[in-house]
């Protein structure tokens, strides 16, 4: 009798939770042979600090940037959720992983507050032309930073990884990326701790406040592969979670 009651209770609970689980996680999708699930828009853009920052950046991106406006036009709606769903999974995963990493790396307020606005969200291919991005232009955000943000990155201010509850240092050296603002000026490059990967990389042009922000998942020669900054490729999503916690996309099942 007790056993039957237990089974019934489990069944009722499971049946009750199922719609909730459905509502929070989208349908599984396959990317380069791996299956993932991505949280729903309502979860990703919720009322948490990260959710509010994502909402601020994404709505401003749709209203103000050339690419965002083009996406609104193509989606036939200015509703952020509709436009979000019209984006490719790799574009969405790039936005989610970069914003999550910046949220986790905290001084007092997370480096997300260093972003004034996003200009472009890059997956594997250009939204405007449909062509593959060059490897150093794929899987990243092109954004404008606040003056405080630029100063903080230049000075390499102490950070803390809130996911691991550990200090996070700055590290390394790399060539500057092309200045996407094409306005000249001084460019500099900074990377966060690479041990372990992934690190966050900022390429900044001070005069225009343009920043190219991506995550590097590979070291050595594998760093030069196209998928170096692709959070959905290989074991990158696992590496991301191990360093920066859940970003809203998980391997499935």
């Amino acid at each position: 009798m007790e056993a039957a009651r237990f089974v019934a209770t489990v069944f009722v609970c499971a049946a009750g939770l199922w719609p909730l689980a459905e509502a929070q996680t989208g349908a599984p999708f396959t990317y380069q042979g791996q299956t993932f699930v991505m949280d729903d828009f309502a979860v990703l853009f919720d009322t948490s600090l990260l959710g509010r920052e994502r909402t601020r950046l994404f709505t401003a991106y749709l209203s103000n940037s050339q690419e965002g406006k083009a996406r609104v036009a193509k989606a036939g709606s200015s509703d952020a959720q509709i436009v979000w769903k019209s984006m490719t999974v790799d574009e969405r995963a790039t936005f989610l992983s970069v914003t999550k990493a910046l949220d986790v790396l905290q001084p007092i307020k997370g480096p997300l507050s260093w972003l004034d606005r996003i200009e472009e969200i890059h997956g594997d291919k250009s939204f405007a032309t449909g062509r593959e991005w060059d490897p150093n232009q794929a899987f990243r955000l092109w954004a404008r930073m606040t003056p405080d943000g630029i100063a903080a990155v230049r000075k390499q201010i102490p950070l803390r990884n809130a996911c691991k509850n550990q200090p996070a240092s700055w590290n390394g050296d790399s060539v500057n990326h092309p200045d996407f603002c094409a306005s000249g000026g001084f460019e500099f490059d900074r990377k966060t701790d690479k041990d372990p990967l992934p690190n966050v990389q900022f390429n900044i042009t001070t005069a225009s406040a343009c920043a190219d922000i991506d995550l590097d998942y590979e070291r050595g020669l594998a760093h030069f592969s196209r998928s170096n900054s692709d959070v959905l490729a290989g074991d990158h999503s696992v590496k991301f979670r191990n360093k920066f916690c859940d970003f809203g996309v998980r391997r499935f099942p």
Partner: protein, 247 residues
Amino acid sequence: MCRVMIAAFVVLTAVYGDAQQPAALARADQFFASLERALRDSPDVLPYVADSTPVLATILRKEPRTAKAWQLEPALAITLTDRELRDYVVTRANLALVCGLEVMRRFPLPTITRQQVEELNPRQIYAPAAAAAGLDQDCVTLDSRPQQRAWITDRPQLNTWLQMPFSASQAKTTFARRGSEQGNAQIESNLAYLRSVAGSAQFDTEVAAVAGLPPDAVVVGSVINLMAYARLDRPSPQLLLVTPLSW
């Protein structure tokens, strides 16, 4: 009148300076291209940085990102002699070059995977002893094993590198023998890919500042799988330092 003349002088100086910059960068690109050809045939950076040793050491001590690029703790870097710093960089750079070219002769970099590098394991060909010192199979970075930082933090660790039984001349001989076997077209393709993505030479005002040089005296560009810093305020450009290429 005086103010007008001063303003005109400032404007003319700026215009002249702007006109000089593209020429300087073009000169740097030529230098890096010739250096790439030379290092491809003979992967040893020592002859090119030998005369720059004091500046190389100054940059590594004063610009932490360059020491960190070779996974050398900046606090340790400031305690090392010029010669120690140079020898450490040369050993690491030469290993990165020979192993990098070995990988590049076999696999296209745009689609390369960690597994391919690990299976080829060029470290085993050129510097098996470096495995014990934590060098990855591709000879570019130190690996980060659990509970162990991929970082040179003390002198005993550094001494392991300075005493590494890696011979640049032996590696060159091995490389030259293997270089004649196959893969030249693949290397050409990979080098073109790296050059196209890494882009042209750029001024590095931060490195120039720590080296005590004018802002437009130091340029950085890609050379095979390395980033090369060179000074331009000499009749011929001079290599100052190399770090692993990254973007």
